[in-house]
């Protein structure tokens, strides 16, 4: 029973990470029809900032969390303004824009790798290590923080996109860019906003998950893939569905690892993708066109 709970929580949390990355992918995709390959690297930047300032307790935690969101946002703005937008302006196809975000990813990871000599970041459990008890459930503070943060971020995202004027602008730009421009929505600014939000979310997610996995400059890559697959499994195009897909993936891999054997994580993810494509291509929450 103990193993079951632990595995479930672990699955939930790693799944949430994938889901948040998937959500970020969809946020950017919906606003600009571009897949931002650097999503994983931005998450890594969150972990890296944590490593630089927070885990060694050089600065107070609240300021640290701010930086953890802010620095990936700055990186995302850089990639967007200097790399992606020039191509978008020249009407390059979205796949090429994705390639240049891959370039941005390599630059971010390469630079971070140089700074860390491509070895692991030292992380620490900033929320303490004493497990919180709640009935039968013992949950580590880190996991609790992940769950809480996710709820906050998702609710915040939902509220922003569905209840604010700027959020409406993002949704409009994603649905029909031409019409949106006609009614006065500034497309480029809307895209930048979507990129910033997704970068902030991913940065925090990276920071939170860093103590639970081996963090290094290249940690972003599998995350990109898994986040994207989470989005597909949940239902491509719907940010909230990505969370569902991510949780499904996380639970699947954790249970397999916990009860059967480890080391098959990625292949399970791939098989899950194949399965979904074969039997339910619209994803768990998608609608078949």
């Amino acid at each position: 029973m103990e193993l079951f709970i632990v595995t479930t929580i672990a699955g939930l949390c790693t799944g949430i990470l994938y889901g948040l990355v998937g959500l970020s992918f969809m946020a950017v995709y919906n606003a600009s029809k571009i897949i931002n390959f650097s999503q994983g690297a931005l998450g890594m930047m969150g972990a890296f900032v944590g490593y630089l300032f927070v885990f060694n307790e050089k600065i107070p935690l609240p300021l640290g969390i701010l930086l953890v969101a802010a620095i990936p946002i700055v990186c995302a703005l850089g990639i967007n303004s200097f790399l992606a937008e020039p191509l978008v302006k020249r009407n390059f196809p979205p796949i090429t824009v994705m390639l240049i975000t891959l370039g941005g990813t390599l630059i971010l990871e390469g630079a971070t790798g140089l700074a860390t000599r491509f070895s692991w970041f030292k992380t620490s459990f900033v929320f303490g290590r004493t497990p919180l008890k709640w009935g039968l459930v013992r949950i580590s503070p880190q996991y609790a923080a992940i769950l809480i943060a996710t709820i906050v971020l998702c609710v915040g995202y939902w509220v922003f996109v569905n209840r604010t004027k700027m959020g409406l602008g993002i949704r409009a730009a994603g649905t029909d860019a031409y019409m949106a421009a006609l009614v006065g929505i500034k497309l480029r600014r809307t895209r930048m906003l979507a990129w910033c939000i997704s970068a902030g979310i991913t940065g925090i997610a990276g920071f939170l998950i860093a103590p639970l996995m081996l963090s290094s400059a290249l940690m972003g890559m599998p995350v990109v893939v898994n986040g994207f697959i989470a989005a597909i499994i949940g239902g491509f195009g719907k940010p909230m569905a990505a969370l569902v897909g991510g949780i499904a993936l996380g639970l699947l891999t954790q249970f397999f690892t916990g009860y059967i054997s480890a080391g098959f994580g990625e292949i399970l993810v791939f098989i899950a993708l194949i399965f979904v494509l074969a039997f339910r291509p619209q994803g768990i929450m998608g609608v078949l066109e």
């Binding site: 897949i35 796949i95 370039g103 990871e109 390469g110 790798g113 000599r117 990625e266 194949i274």
Partner: protein, 331 residues
């Protein structure tokens, strides 16, 4: 734009002469070089083969795939495991690797061709990562995990061990075969169908092209070529481990095409050689390679989207309308 193809006979003559010169240079190369340079050459040429494989998918069908590392791994491990368990000769193993690579890619592509564009790219990336982690961790008992498998040196006729020069010629032969395949494919109805898929799927389907079928074909060709390259490389290196197909190995062929020229045979070869030699050229600066790759990719996409060969053709050679196709810029 009133471009016309320059006189067919003239330009054909020019190309043939160029190819002849290159072949000659390639043949006499081993006699004028030293072991270290041979090393570079082999690395670069294997990279060129991988890039040519990718070119069929990306350059012709317009679909990026990040599976190159996976294909390479399939070929390499196939050779290593067959040698270890069945002690079959290299020729047989290589053939088996090619077939196995084709079969696995076919299976994978049957599901993935529903996807297009970025989804296909990430799907193939997932495939490659799946292979990497299964080999490195999951099936550790079979594959030796991170430690890898040792391979015996290749013994040729008269009991002589294959030298670097032998491998060099073998690789050049495979490279030439891939160039031939690309060339003849490009000039056939299937090649035209692939280009159509890249430009206008609805029109392509309306005129008889079964898009899924030809995307599968492109992926399978990519897989087979990658597996063969992997098999030969691994036998030359005498050793296989997951090191050889780390994450970057999925990106270097894509990078090579962008640098050389997407859809361009010469571009694939030039780009492939350059990008795959780069880390070894940067002695002592190996840690910079990721960063440099990123910078190169961005610089080329921003300023030289046609790639080196593409730009040269556009400006000086000016031959053939189709060479001016700029997949990257979507012109």
């Amino acid at each position: 734009m009133n471009k016309r193809v320059s006189n067919d006979a003239d330009s054909r003559m020019r190309t043939l002469v160029l190819i002849g010169v290159l072949l000659l240079l390639a043949l006499i190369f081993p006699m004028v070089s030293n072991p270290r340079v041979m090393n570079f050459a082999i690395l670069g040429l294997v990279g060129a083969i991988l890039t040519l494989g990718l070119n069929i998918c990306f350059g012709y069908c317009g679909q990026i795939n990040f599976g190159s590392g996976g294909f390479f791994a399939i070929g390499g491990y196939c050779i290593a495991l067959l040698e270890e368990s069945l002690h079959t000769p290299f020729v047989f193993n290589l053939l088996a690797a090619a077939i196995f690579g084709g079969v696995i890619t076919l299976l994978m592509s049957m599901f993935l061709v529903r996807l297009r564009g970025h989804s296909l790219a990430l799907g193939t990336f997932a495939f490659s990562l799946a292979i990497y982690t299964s080999v490195a961790k999951g099936f550790k008992s079979f594959t030796g995990g991170e430690d890898g498998i040792r391979l015996a040196p290749l013994v040729l006729w008269h009991e002589t061990t294959a030298s670097d020069t032998f491998y060099y010629y073998l690789i050049v032969a495979v490279l030439a075969a891939c160039c031939w395949l690309s060339w003849t494919l490009r000039r056939s109805r299937v090649g035209r169908a692939m280009l159509e898929i890249a430009q206008n799927e609805v029109a392509a389907a309306s005129f008889g092209v079964d898009i899924n079928k030809y995307l599968r074909l492109a992926l399978v060709l990519n897989g087979v070529i990658g597996a063969v390259a992997g098999g030969i490389f691994v036998k030359w290196a005498g050793w296989i481990s997951p090191e050889y197909f780390n994450i970057m190995s999925n990106f270097t062929p894509v990078l090579s095409l962008v640098v050389g020229g997407v859809g361009n045979i010469a571009g694939a070869v030039v780009g492939g050689i350059f990008i795959h030699i780069l880390p070894t050229l940067m002695i002592g600066l190996a840690e910079f390679s990721t960063l440099i790759y990123g910078v190169i990719l961005c610089v080329f996409l921003l300023f030289l989207p046609r790639g080196i060969i593409g730009e040269l053709q556009q400006r000086y050679y000016n031959r053939g309308i189709i060479r001016n196709v700029n997949k990257v810029a979507g012109e």
